[in-house]
């Protein structure tokens, strides 16, 4: 059935929506960052799974040459390493901002922060 053949895409979609939902629906800033992370992780999965070739192995040249060896596409892996780094940097920056926001506002709940800003 198509579902099983494309299950990696289904996982991608489910994770993406889960992350997106958390991002939007949760008021706590750290939960938003977690949602963002899940959202980004889903994209990583998309890339990595798209690189897998059926029956493919790791893209390392084995002894005896590369004749007849099927290997998975290394490029998505490379791309995702970059994207993971970007994701880590984003998370770090986000968390640093949350620390500063906590210092400045005394809270990390979005609605309380909005109230505080409205009064200002």
């Amino acid at each position: 059935m198509d579902f099983l053949a494309h299950f990696n895409y289904w996982v991608f979609v489910v994770l993406m929506m889960a992350g997106f939902y958390t991002l939007i629906a949760r008021g706590n800033l750290i939960k938003k960052i977690v949602g963002l992370n899940i959202f980004q992780a889903s994209v990583f999965l998309l890339y990595i799974t798209m690189g897998k070739v059926t029956g493919g192995t790791a893209p390392i040249v084995p002894e005896g040459g590369t004749d007849g060896v099927i290997y998975s596409n290394p490029i998505p892996h490379v791309l995702i390493l970059t994207a993971i780094v970007v994701g880590v940097a984003t998370t770090a920056l986000g968390l640093a901002l949350i620390v500063r926001i906590n210092e400045a506002f005394g809270t990390i709940e979005e609605d309380e922060i909005q109230d505080a800003e409205a009064e200002q």
Binding site: I75, V86, A89, I101, E117
Partner: protein, 498 residues
């Protein structure tokens, strides 16, 4: 080979490498003056390099540079043609112009022990923006996009008001969503074509154009890039981010970041996907026209009701982005020319406006409308530059803004779209209202009794303001350079000779 020849040969790579390496070096430069001087030095070099690239492109045509010597489409290619030369010029010029202003402004707005970090982040942001403009590889766009975005989140968060922190956080969240959507789009495109090189993608996409992954890729990419360029209704992050960031950051980011995102849109829609796919197969023209008209009208109206002048100008920026997208979505030479022209002119206008507001903030300590009473007499040079840039925003003849409006209206007339042309003109009237609000308060109201009298700012701050304001007038009269560049770029994007 002489050193100069080597430099010229590697100019595309140097354009990125120089500010990229300069940024971490800047962290080592403790002390305001050292960090500032270093930044000044680097931005001038960057500007000179972008002029060199533009000159080369003008003479020899498209430059294709293989990073690391690896040939495209496997290696990353830096590809400079008329359009990115134009964008590189804009970004590096604005970058160079704001730095002299930054010395005093940053001293006032940011704690002393952070200055070297500020300049480092600034150089990183510049690197990222330049990188987006110069690269010929789709994934590389994402990388540089994130470099520039992350550094701009950090820059915005350095604002004095604590709301800068939440503004930066909101921008971070929305910007990351946008970038991630772009990433998804690129991933799906890679999946269907097997390449990330823009030129190669352009060759291979037509064969798979109407498949579902590509349609999905297009959709994801469009939403992502519209988030980044703050097209209505995905513009929510912009007003707060611009309002609470340090003055220099607002001026720089307002003049460059959204423009570069628009460039990304142009590159993908016209060069990679092709104008036919983007606008005929996908009914994008209609969608973009509606959204940009709404942007123009809604944002201009919101601007009128703002009490904080920086927020007012931020909403005005959203409206101006609407103008640019409107011109682009017409997919005619005149329309594209007007969009590209307005990218250039808007950078000049908003640069001048935000810098002069920065000067006001430097002296007065606030950019609330109420605090600016009577500032026109006390800071005549600054406010006069504000007026000139404001007139350019309205589109008064003899200013740059008039030229881009003229082109836009001409393009709309060529399409026979009357009502839209009338709306564009009506929005100029809205612009008159909000600019005049500021002018009236500054010139016609006496200062508050308990306000301290303020002086004009120093030459180092006035000079960039006046260069930008003067450029508005200069390019409103001698239009050959911007119109020529924009026209060439437009024709190239549409694949018409020239």
């Amino acid at each position: 080979m002489t050193a100069l020849e080597i430099i010229v040969m590697h100019l595309p790579a140097l354009q990125i490498a120089v500010p990229l390496i300069a940024a971490p070096l800047c962290i080592l430069m403790r002390g305001t003056y050292l960090a500032w001087f270093w930044t000044r030095f680097i931005t001038v070099i960057v500007f000179v390099m972008s002029i060199g690239l533009a000159w080369q492109v003008h003479k020899a045509g498209v430059i294709s540079y293989e990073l690391g010597g690896w040939a495209a489409p496997w290696g990353i290619e830096y590809r400079v043609d008329q359009i990115n030369a134009f964008v590189l010029l804009i970004v590096s010029a604005i970058g160079m112009m704001v730095v002299p202003f930054a010395l005093k402004s940053v001293q006032k707005e940011i704690p002393d022990d952070r200055h070297h970090l500020f300049y480092a982040a600034f150089l990183l942001c510049l690197t990222g923006l330049l990188g987006i403009a110069i690269t010929g590889d789709a994934f590389n766009v994402f990388v540089f996009l994130e470099i520039s975005s992350l550094s701009s989140y950090a820059l915005i968060a350095m604002g004095r008001d604590r709301r800068a922190l939440t503004a930066a956080f909101q921008y971070l969240v929305m910007g990351t969503i946008g970038a991630t959507f772009i990433l998804i789009g690129i991933g799906l495109m890679y999946q269907m074509t097997g390449t990330l090189n823009m030129a190669d993608l352009a060759k291979r996409l037509p064969a798979v154009a109407e498949t579902r992954p590509i349609m999905a890729a297009f959709a994801f990419f469009t939403v992502g890039v519209c988030l980044k360029l703050a097209l209505f209704p995905l513009h929510m992050w912009l007003p707060n981010a611009y309002a609470y960031a340090p003055s220099v950051v607002t001026a720089f980011v307002a003049a460059t970041a959204t423009k570069v995102s628009i460039y990304v849109l142009l590159r993908f829609f016209f060069t990679i996907f092709g104008a036919e796919f983007s606008f005929d197969v996908v009914p994008l023209t209609g969608v973009l026209v509606i959204l940009s008209v709404m942007a123009i009208v809604a944002a201009s109206t919101s601007a009128i009701f703002q009490k904080n002048v920086k927020r007012l100008l931020a909403y005005s920026s959203v409206a101006q982005i609407g103008y640019i997208i409107l011109g682009i979505s017409l997919v005619t030479v005149t329309g594209l020319t007007s969009g590209l022209l307005h990218m250039f002119n808007h950078a000049l206008m908003k640069g001048a406006l935000f810098l002069s507001l920065g000067a006001v903030y430097y002296r007065v300590g606030s950019v609330e409308l109420e605090a600016m009473r009577g500032v026109g007499r006390q800071m005549p040079l600054t406010m006069f530059a504000f007026v000139i840039a404001g007139l350019s925003l309205i589109g008064v003849p003899m200013t740059a803004g008039f030229i881009s409006k003229w082109y836009l209206l001409t393009a709309l007339f060529q399409m026979g779209w009357w009502p839209v042309a009338v709306l564009v003109l009506a929005s100029s009237l809205l612009a008159i209202v909000y600019i005049w609000k500021v002018v009236e308060v500054a010139y016609f109201q006496p200062p508050l009794p308990d306000a301290k009298p303020v002086k004009e700012v120093t030459f180092s701050m006035l000079m960039p303001i006046w260069v930008l304001a003067g450029a508005n007038v200069f390019f409103g009269i001698d239009t050959r350079l911007p119109v020529g560049l924009a026209g060439d770029a437009a024709r190239q994007l549409l694949g018409i000779g020239g």
